[in-house]
Structure formats: C-alpha cells, structure tokens
Amino acid sequence: MTTTRPEPVTERPASTRLESREDRTHRLSVGVLVLVVGVVLVVLTASTGDVARFALSNAFDEVQLPTLGLPGVPVVVVCALLCLLAGVGFLVGRLSSRVRTLAGVVAGLAFLLGFLTWAAAGRDLPFPVSNQLSGTLTLATPLVLGALCGVLCERAGVVNVSIEGQFLSAAFTSAVVGSITNSIPLALLAAVVGGLVMAALLALFAIRYKVDQVVLGVVLNLLAAGLTGFVFDQLVQPSSGDLNSAPLLTPIPIPGLSALPLLGPVLFEQNALAYLAIASVLVVWFLLFRTSWGLRVRAVGEHPEAADTVGISVRGIRWSAVLVGGVFGGLGGAFFSLAATGSFTKEMTVGNGFIALAALIMGRWHPVWATLMALFFGFVTQMASQLQTLNTPMPSQFLLVLPYVATIIAVAGLIGKVRAPAADGVPYDKP
C-alpha cells in the first residue's frame, strides 16, 4: 500500500437536481389553483362595497380600540393581484423553493384578506377581529391536543385514525364524572382515563394482534360512538340532571396580561384546557426531541429492526407512545363536554378527530407544525361562522366549504414532499 490514493469521499456532494414530472405537475396545478383564486377575487371586486370595517375590540373589552375601515375595492384588487402574481410565479417556474413557499403563503393570506374584505365591505356591522382570534384559539384547542396525540402514535409507527373515538369517549367520561363529582380536576382526570382506554385498545390490537391499523381505527371510532351512545340513552339521558350537568370550564384571565389591548383577551383570557394545549405542544416537542424516550420513539417509527438490534423493546416503546398519546387525546375530548356545553350529547365531536388527523399529516408529524395547522383550521372555521352572522351575500353552504378551500390553497404551496415515519402503520413481527 505505498501508492497514494485519492482522498476517500466522506460525504456525498450535493446532488444535481432537475424538476421531476411529479414536481412539475404539482407546481403547475398549484399555479392554476392560485390563478383561479385570483380571478375569482377580480370578479368579486364588481360586487364589493365601499368600506370594510374591522372591529378590533368588542364591547366588553377594557381598552377600546378603534374600528378599522379598509377601502373595499382597492384592497380586494391588491389581494387579487397578489394571487395572480403568485400564480404566474408558480406557472413560470423560475422561483426557488423558498420563494415558492413564500408565494404560497402570501397567496393564501391574500385570498383570506381579499375574501374577508369583500364579505365585510358595505355591511351594517363591522367584522369582529378579536372574536375571530379568540374563537380561533378556542376551536383549535381540541384539534391541537388531538394532533399531538396523533403525532406521538404515528412517530412510534402506529397509525391513529381513532382520535375521534378517543375524543368521544373522553367527552363522555368527563361529562359523567364531572356531573357526579362537580369537580373540574376529577372530570379532566376522567377524560384522561377515557382517552387512555381507547388508546390501550388501539395499542392492543395494533401492536399485539397486528390488525390493519386504518381498519382498526375506523372500528374503534364506531365502537366509541356506539358505546357512548348506548350508555347515554340507557343511563345518562333518563337522569341527566345528575349525570349530565358537568361544571363548565371558565376563562381564567391571567392578571396583567389579559388587560393588554387586542391580544390580552385573545391569548390571556382562555380556559384551562387552552392553556394546557399550549403547554402540551412544548411538552410533546420536548419529549420527542430532547429525551432518550423520544429518540427511541422516533427510532421504532422509522426502523424498528434497528431499534430491536440495539436492545430496545419495539412493542414496549410503541405501547408507551400510544398511551402517552391517549392522555392528550383524552384532554382534547374533555373540551367538548367541559368547555363547550357542560354536557354530553351523542357524537358531539362531529369529525374534529379527523381534522386533528389532517392537521398532523399536513403538519408533517411535527408537534409545532401540526399545532400551526390546527390553528389554521380553527381560524378558517371561526371565520366562516363569523361571516354567517354578518349576512354576507354568500350561500351558507359555501361558507362551510370555505375552510377546506383555504386549506388546500395555503397548504399546496407549503407542503411539497411530505414524508411519514418510514414504519408508520407497519406492525413489528418480533416480540
């Protein structure tokens, strides 16, 4: 070995990239979509009123902020132009990927603002901005908790389609226990137990018996709906005074901070579950990325054999992740009975579990991104319901679809390549 050798390459040089067919199709379809949205906004200018008013405070706020008036037509036109520009940018294909992401976000926001302006312009009442924001946080609370539940399960390699079922059973147990004990902490505890029971069923059948996880999730949802519905009809309904009048979570203003104009009431006058949800995001992030347990969770979700060969119990870690997820799922479920109504009604979670699932997927299985997606869902849903009260010229059916349309636009530019944990949904064969 006396000859000199060229240095061995220790790292691959960056690969040359060309646009693949898939990417091209994706880019072009996003471009067309954004362009169409721009055109719609242009058309809407014809029916835009003079001034769109946005109320920054509501009547009960300590600090009253002025009501903002935006000139209707110019704002809608600017927003339309932004969308058209972004659309053309996508179609031409000269944008770097970072600029493209930015263009997607700008187009999404421009669409929302333009649409809002059109809807609010010339109405009798101003659009209530602070209601919009605090409503966003409220609606997003269960979504955030549900998405965190999903993040934990799926990072460990267990697909969780049964967030909805966990919500429902937790809503039920917390309503009943809350009614009996009249104690919020006990009701929350009951919610956690309700979530854990469903999570344990998921873990048992997915990990131990290797049932197809999507089918299993659907079955668990049906089970939760059927079981809570049955017990509700047979036992709870007949004596709803005793068993179905749980204490309501009340907003807890944080002294000092809650008096801040605009943001105060939005951020610092929420109920305990909302605070808990925000704290949970940090907790889950920390667990996943800063603890040994989290490293193991991610390892069994990506490459269970590798984890096995270094002596990690794949099943054990999966069990623990699904159960910890169940805690958050349960807390999310408590929202429906304790924060919204103080009582349980059949199938009261109305698909929120699935929206949480969507948030987690679009949030790329990352707790923080998933939370942002959940907030976004909350925002658009709240906006749709606010617009309904404004008497906009729009059919209400369209308003119901709005959240999803907006999501598609905002996410299309953002998403790019979504990569699930490699072993997500794949049972592990060895003990």
Binding site: S20, L295, R298, A299, A307, T309, V310, G311
Partner: protein, 563 residues
C-alpha cells in the same frame, strides 16, 4: 493443508480447551417450518482470531449469527461463554455479554444523525434527558481511537454506503464488544473500501477481539482468515486453511467442482446496435439519477455497467426499457429511434429485459412456470384472445429442458422454486424470442454458484448469436467474468468505459468517481493478471505469518497478542 472433513466436526468440541474468553456455539439447530436452516452447527470464537464463515446464499450464515445475537432462539444446542452455557433472549442480553454485530442490512435509522444512531439504546444523559453533546463527544473519541472517520452530526441517509458501514462498526464497538460479527460486510463496498475494512478488522483482531467474518466471496477470505469454516445447506461441511485455493473453497461451498471462469471466446463485434445519447433520468423527488449518459453496445459484445449500488445503473436499465421515463436523451436500437416508445414497443423491437428484482418485476409468483414463460409475449400464443394452452405448455417444456430449470412440472407455481431456478425461468423467457438487445440487471443476485455458472454461459451464448448485451452488476466478479467492455458509473455519470482486463483496483477507484487515467496512475496494478499475482503473494505472506506464529487450528493460540 486443506483439512476438509466429510462429517460436521460436532464431536471434537469436548477435546478442545475451553479457554477464557472463548465463545462457543455448540451444535446449534434452527428449524423454520420444514426447512432446517442450521443443523447442529458448532463454531468457536477466540480472542485475537478472525474466523471466516463461508457459505452460499441461503446456507444459514445469518440465521446462525442471529441466534448468537439474541434475535432468534435456537431450537437445539447451546451457546457457551467461557465454558458456561448462556441464553440470549434478546439482543440486549447479547450486547451485555460483549457481542456486537454489523448486520448484512445496515441497522441504521436513515433520518437520524450519526451520533444519534450510535447512542441509540444506551443514550447518555441524566433523568431521561438526552445529552446529545455527550453523544457527539463519544462518537468523536471512538472515531479517533479506532481511526474510523465519521462526522457525528451528518445525517445517515446523506452518507455513502462505506461510511454508513463505519457507523455500524462504531455502533457495535460502542458497547465494547469482545466478539464482533460482520455479516457479509463487503457485499456493498468498492474494492478500496473492502481493503479499508479488512485493515479495520485486522486492527480489531490485534486488540484481542474475536471476529467472525461472513462472506460468500472467496478472494477476500484467503488474505485475512485465521480459520475458515464452510457451511452448506445449514451444515458445517468442514474447515479449511487460508492456504486453500479458491477452487478448493468453492468446491467445499457448493458441494461439487465448479468452474469460476466463464468459457468465452473473444467477442466478434458487429456494428453498434444500441446507441444512447445524453440520456438523463430524474427520480420522483427531482434528483438526477442518470446524468447525460452516452453509450454504445455493438452486436456480439457484452458491455457491463459496474458501480456501487445506487449510482444510477438500475435506473439506466429501466430507462432503456422505458419503464421509467427519461427526461432527456435519445435511445436507438438498430437505427430505430425508441426514445419515446412505450415498453411494449421496445420489447417488440427486440429488447429482452431481466429485471433486478425478479420477485417484484420478473415474474408472477403464483402463476405457473408455463404461464410465466409467455408472460411478455402472450399474444404469440393466443388466437383472438383465447390462449392456446397446449402450445404454451409445450413451449414451457422445451424451455425448462433447455435451461435446466429444476421444477416438478411446468404447472408448478414459480414462487416455490429456488432463486436460481426462478432466474432461469426469467432468462429462458427473455431468450426464447429473437433479440437485438438483452438488458440484464443483477442477473445472478441471490443465485447459487451452480446456477450462476449456467446463467453466465447462456448469456455468453446469446452474445455469440450477435445480440448486443448490456449487463448491470455490482459484483466485480461477475463483471470480470462476463464483460468485453466495462462502463463504470458513479453518481449517475459514466466515469469511463474500459477494457475487460482492467484490474479491480482501477475499477474500484473509478467506482468512487476517479477518472480512468488518474485511477491508472495511482493504482499499484492495472491489469487482472498482475492483480492475481499480487493477491497470491499476499496470501502466501499471510499463510507464512500464520505458520510462523504456530499452525492455526483448533486447540492452539491464534496469532493475537492474547487477552
């Protein structure tokens, strides 16, 4: 010197010393359903010794080691550590007993950093909180100590295979393993990387560790082994000394005399039949996998495309057939432009294709041999959509005989045949029509040595009919056996097209991206013949060394400094 015995040396265990630090597998038996994967296999691992475990694909080598590592439980026999029986219910227990394993398929989490992979399972930190800084420090220390260079923060999926293997080795060493198993570690390496690995194994041995080196490649065994155990169909068929010749080892491994060289006359080259210009292919996520490739294959010659797995060879073959779209470039066969043609048209134009993953793309496992043999030209065996079953059957019977397919009948499902026979079915189908071009990707992967010989012979026969043949192979043995010319690919580009008698050393450098001229300048040998001489000299030196420090064999101290 070859001490091959007909019966497994199961009985001689009691006779040898149960010295300290010896790990002994004693008559290990493992059964999968009706298949006896290990039949009373005994093996000693001694400190300071490299023990080669030699056997064909499917001989049961990995199965044996997985039992040692606690991944599988033996159905019979026992494992003795320092003379005392031990049981490993899971890998953790094996690791704690000082066993480390570099797995055949790397056990690395792609999306983790090097440091995260190495500490996984025994993470540093207090109160469950991960201390990544300590992890990095550990990796740096180990990396320095064993002179295995890695960047603790690199993501594993961004590393070349050779470096990933270093990570695997460090991972095994991080548990301070006294017994190290390398399961076919060279299968994915270039010759230079193989040399480096051999140096690493030697250094570890000299530290007094016991090493098991599993392989089915003969040439590397002889230069490094202190002892060689050969297993065939789950049984130990004997021990051999490093001085045994390659053909002696091959005979023990396969059970009969095999010729390691393909008989072939020099190519009678006609005009160019396949012409490829500027061919460029992108993967779905936008990476250029085949980068502006120009190639020509003449009738009557075999062009081998060599390269480390994943450098665009497979995609090149698939793009030639048209199953992956090319984003640029021209493909002409016998003058006809097929750049935009469908795979069906290309097959009609005389392309034959043997896919890399035969189970996935080569046949339908649940179909019979006969059905699979007409799979891609079924029109020729049908009248107005109705199959002529009699013709299909007799066609299949002729082919099974010609290609020596060992099957009970042509009505047997292909899935139940052995790998070699499955591949014969695929090749028979492709060669049963007149071809202008035969493309074969990894034609002998996972195929037993006996069948390899046969398949190679048939490919050469096809060449001699005047067909242009393009072989993609990551096995340099196969490349040098078949090629008339060799194209080396690296990161999607053709680094160079060279003569068939280019040495592995030069090819290896080219496989790492070094241009041909530079590779020739820095290589110590440039032709195959020179290289063989050098290898024989190395083996002789190694054997002399072993003899100098006392004859290697059961019951005697191997060359190491001792523990």
């Amino acid at each position: 010197m070859t001490q091959s015995s007909a019966s497994p040396p199961a009985g001689d265990v009691a006779g040898t010393d149960a010295g300290a630090g010896v790990l002994r597998l004693d008559r290990i038996t493992k059964v999968f359903g009706s298949l006896v994967a290990n039949d009373a296999v005994s093996l000693d691992l001694r400190p300071g010794e490299i023990h080669c475990l030699l056997g064909e694909n499917g001989a049961g080598k990995s199965t044996l080691m997985n039992q040692l590592y606690g991944l599988l439980q033996p159905d019979g026999g026992e494992i003795l550590l320092d003379g005392a029986p031990v049981r490993f219910a899971n890998p953790r227990q094996a690791i704690d007993a000082g066993i480390g394993m570099v797995h055949q398929h790397f056990m690395l989490v792609d999306v983790f950093s090097v440091a995260e992979n190495i500490v996984l399972g025994r993470e540093p930190g207090r109160g469950g909180i991960l201390d990544l800084r300590a992890a990095r420090r550990l990796v740096r220390e180990m990396s320095e100590r064993y002179r295995l260079e890695v960047d603790p923060d690199a993501r594993v999926e961004d590393l070349p295979i050779g470096v990933q293997q270093r990570v695997e080795i460090l991972k095994a060493l991080s548990n301070d393993a006294r017994f190290l198993v390398f399961d076919e570690p060279t299968a994915v390496l270039t010759p230079q990387e193989t040399d480096e690995l051999i140096e690493v194994m030697r250094a570890l041995r000299d530290e007094g560790r016991a090493i098991v080196f599993i392989t089915h490649k003969l040439r590397e065994v002889r230069a490094i082994a202190d002892r060689i155990t050969v297993i065939r169909r789950g049984r130990v068929v004997g021990e051999a000394a490093p001085s045994a010749s390659e053909s002696e080892l091959a005979e023990m491994m396969v059970g009969r005399a095999v010729s390691l060289r393909v008989d072939k006359t020099p190519a009678q080259v006609a005009g160019a039949r396949l012409e490829v210009e500027h061919l460029t292919v992108t993967s779905p996520d936008g990476v250029v996998v085949v980068d502006d490739v120009d190639l020509e294959v003449a009738g009557g010659e075999i062009l081998c495309v060599a390269g480390v797995q994943g450098n665009g060879q497979s995609e090149l073959a698939e793009a030639l057939l048209g199953v992956v779209p090319a984003s640029r470039g021209r493909i002409r066969l016998d003058g006809t432009d097929l750049s935009r043609a469908t795979p069906r048209r290309r097959l009609r134009a005389g392309m034959g294709f043997v896919p890399e993953d035969r189970k996935h793309d080569g046949f339908v496992g649940s179909f019979t041999v006969a059905e699979n043999m007409v799979l891609n030209h079924v029109d020729a065996f049908a009248d107005r959509g109705l199959l002529r079953l009699g013709d299909i059957r007799s066609h299949a019977e002729t082919l099974t005989e010609q290609f020596d397919v060992r099957t009970q009948s042509v009505e047997t499902p292909v899935a139940s045949l052995s790998g070699g026979n499955q591949q014969k079915v695929v090749l028979a189908r492709e060669l049963s029509r007149p071809l202008s071009l035969l493309i074969a990707s990894q034609p002998t992967r996972g195929v037993d040595v006996g069948a390899i010989e046969f398949l190679h012979q048939r490919i050469v026969q096809e060449r001699d009919k005047g067909t242009a043949v393009l072989i993609v192979s990551t096995e340099l043995d196969e490349v040098s056996a078949l090629a008339d010319r060799i194209a080396v690919m690296y990161r999607g580009r053709v680094v160079g097209v060279v003569d068939a008698d280019t040495s592995r050393e030069v090819l290896g450098l080219m496989m790492a991206g070094v241009p041909h001229e530079e590779a020739v300048r820095s290589a110590s040998v440039t032709t195959v013949a020179e290289e063989e001489q050098k290898l024989e000299a190395e083996v002789a030196e190694h054997v002399a060394e072993l003899e100098g420090s006392g004859p290697a064999g059961p019951g005697l101290e191997g060359g190491g400094s001792g523990v």
